[in-house]
């Protein structure tokens, strides 16, 4: 069966965690590395942690290919045409418009605007027009192994992270084998947006009370949106055994465990995690990738993952 007869199936993975600092970036970068290098998969890593994108710090051989400015449409009210009827104010669910008729004041607060377009529909005087305002940058890189990195980077001061994540995801390539979405911490709308198009979510946790509590919140969220997921326990060996107990209780797939290592933490500190990778780390990630692939080929029946 050739790719011409069947459109290519791209495996879409998302990495999330709930709690910050559990190792999402480490796992994302390592999966990206091993999938490109050891399995020759054409892989794209999309850094959706747009508030604090870190993947690029760990991928030293990346070359910038393109940069796009991501914008949102912000309405502008023309005082010459405005009759101060306040209909736009009543249409705006986000309290982003202030109109004070006695002093003929009408203004939009861009930091509250969701660019829904309701005010334009509301205005009967043709006084509102929309203009693009930057919310961040989307940069695409290529590395030596033919892998792609796409990074959304929120403009400092912008509160529109979810909109930028949506825009960053538009830069997904169609002709790659695997896409990895690296999610921000938390469990709210930016994380839902990141994992929305994924076939499978990898949750990275740490075996601590904070790690477990936030893992439970994330599991609750993923079950609500009906996404299949599995868990990687990072920094295994610290903390306690309660994450393990939770996983077996809830029959959640444990994809792998990565032991805490002081020397690995030191390599991470300088961004140097992809050079001189020790054999144990390599074995762990390969085992995780094998599990993911087995799951995928099983789910897709006859369709094979590789071209």
């Amino acid at each position: 069966m050739t790719t011409k007869e069947h459109p290519k199936l791209t495996l879409k993975l998302a990495i999330a965690s709930g709690k910050g600092g559990t190792g999402k970036t480490t796992v994302a970068v390592n999966l990206f590395h091993f999938m490109s290098k050891n399995y020759s998969f054409k892989t794209q890593l999309i850094d959706c942690d747009v508030e604090e994108p870190n993947d690029l710090l760990f991928l030293q051989d990346c070359e910038l290919e393109s940069e796009d400015i991501s914008t949102q449409l912000i309405p502008f009210i023309d005082n010459d045409k405005c009759t101060y009827c306040r209909k736009c104010v009543s249409y705006c669910e986000f309290n982003a418009i202030v109109v004070i008729p006695p002093v003929e004041f009408a203004e939009v607060n861009p930091s509250l605007c969701h660019s829904c377009g309701a005010c334009i529909v509301a205005c009967e005087d043709g006084a509102i027009s929309e203009h693009p305002a930057e919310i961040g940058k989307i940069r695409s890189y290529k590395n030596d192994q033919g892998g792609f990195l796409t990074e959304g980077r929120l403009k400092i001061g912008s509160a529109m992270q979810t909109m930028l994540i949506k825009d960053t995801k538009q830069h997904a390539h169609e002709d790659v084998d695997v896409i990895i979405f690296d999610a921000p911490p938390g469990t709210s709308c930016p994380v839902v947006e990141t994992v929305a198009d994924a076939d499978y979510v990898i949750l990275v946790t740490e075996p601590t009370p904070f790690g477990l509590y936030d893992l439970k919140l994330t599991v609750e969220m993923l079950r609500e949106i009906q996404k299949p997921f599995g868990v990687i326990i990072n920094k295994a060996g610290i903390g306690d055994q309660k994450v393990h107990a939770f996983l077996s209780n809830q029959k959640i797939e444990l994809l792998g465990e990565i032991p805490y290592s002081k020397s690995y933490a030191s390599k991470y500190a300088t961004g140097d995690i992809l050079n001189n990778i020790n054999i144990d780390t390599e074995i762990q990630y390969k085992a995780i990738i094998r599990k993911l692939m087995a799951r995928y080929t099983q789910d897709e029946g006859d369709y094979n993952f590789k071209r």
Binding site: K19, G20, G21, T22, T25, D49, V50, E51, E52, N54, L57, F58, Y91, E93, F94, S111, H114, S115, C116, G117, A118, V121, L154, I156, G157, S158, A159, M160, Q161, T162, P184, P185, G186, T187, S188, C189, P190, V191, V192, A196, T208, P209, F210, Y213, D214, L217, T218, E220, M221, E224, I225, G239, D240, K262, A265, S266, Y268, A269, T270, G271
Partner: protein, 291 residues
């Protein structure tokens, strides 16, 4: 009353453990957990809930398919790609994509669309062994976390003023987006907890740029400073360049995790270990600056 917000940019740098530790040291404090998305402070402070409130969040629209005439006006106007035909060809709204702008509801010629407000978020006022805690629990996948941060902060401030507290301490969220912005506005001082890594520094730089746009005095606390000396040197250079006072360097210590497992602050666990001593000294310095 002085309001202090603890932030980091990067997640998992130790904000919550440090906030809880300050609880062990400082007297007359009201706490507010601003990380409403993945709140953890209550795991150490073990609050007894005194007040429970529902926070009504954003709207979500839905279509009554029996009255829908399939005109497609809603689909054409929805900017969030939330309205699509279901498998029977009838229009439906994906609640996770719906932004809650209610434009579709206003435009529907047959009033087939209605919206409901989420009541899936709660917030609480609680008593703890270190003082009052205002905290929240968001429903999974909810939006508007920035607004919920404003709600809990407002209540915490009222309680701090009413109770004549000396300090209000906000345990902040990770990132620099809407929740972080909400936890910054109007605070008197920021403690930036920086993890001694390349990403810790990268994220602190972005956070500091945001804090500067609000002109809020900022102090830095370095965490896990001993995992790599060269990263620590880089960060100290950054702090010196920006004239950000460094009030302490906390070493990586497994006792930090052990304390968390036991539900204790690091100070309660042992005030004789290096990490505890550094935090005690850092707080002493801050109190001095705030006088």
């Amino acid at each position: 009353m002085k309001e202090i917000t603890i932030l980091s940019g990067k997640g998992g740098t130790g904000k919550t453990s440090i906030t809880a530790a300050i609880g062990s040291i400082a007297s007359s404090v009201v706490f507010c957990d601003n990380d409403v998305d993945a709140a953890d402070l209550h795991l150490i402070l073990e609050p007894a809930i005194r007040e429970e409130h529902t926070y009504t969040g954003g709207w979500t629209a839905s279509i009554d398919q029996s009255s829908c005439i399939d005109c497609g006006i809603c689909t054409d106007h929805c900017r969030f790609d939330a309205i699509h035909p279901d498998r029977h060809g009838k229009l439906e709204i994906n609640p996770f994509k719906c932004e809650g702008c209610r434009l579709c509801e206003r435009l529907c010629p047959v009033q087939a669309i209605s919206s409901v407000q989420s009541t899936n978020n709660n917030w609480y006022v609680s008593e703890t062994r270190f003082g009052t805690l205002v905290h929240a629990k968001m429903g999974p996948g909810e939006e508007n976390s920035g607004k919920l941060v404003s709600v809990v902060r407002k209540r915490a401030r009222e309680l701090a003023i009413k109770g004549n507290a000396r300090y209000l301490i906000n345990d902040g969220p990770p990132g620099i987006g809407c929740a972080a912005i909400s936890s910054l506005t109007g605070t008197d001082l920021v403690i930036m907890v920086i993890e001694s890594t390349i990403s810790g520094l990268h994220d602190a730089r972005r956070l500091y740029e945001l804090i500067q746009s609000f002109s809020i005095p900022t102090y830095a606390l370095l965490n896990k400073f001993n995992i790599n000396p060269s990263s620590t040197t880089e960060i100290e250079k950054f702090l010196k360049d920006k004239s950000i006072p460094l009030i302490g360097k906390i070493p990586f210590d497994r006792h930090m995790v052990n304390a968390m497992v036991k539900g204790k602050t690091i100070i309660e666990y042992s005030d004789q270990i290096e990490a505890s001593k550094v935090i005690i000294e850092a707080w002493r310095k801050l109190e001095h600056y705030l006088e």
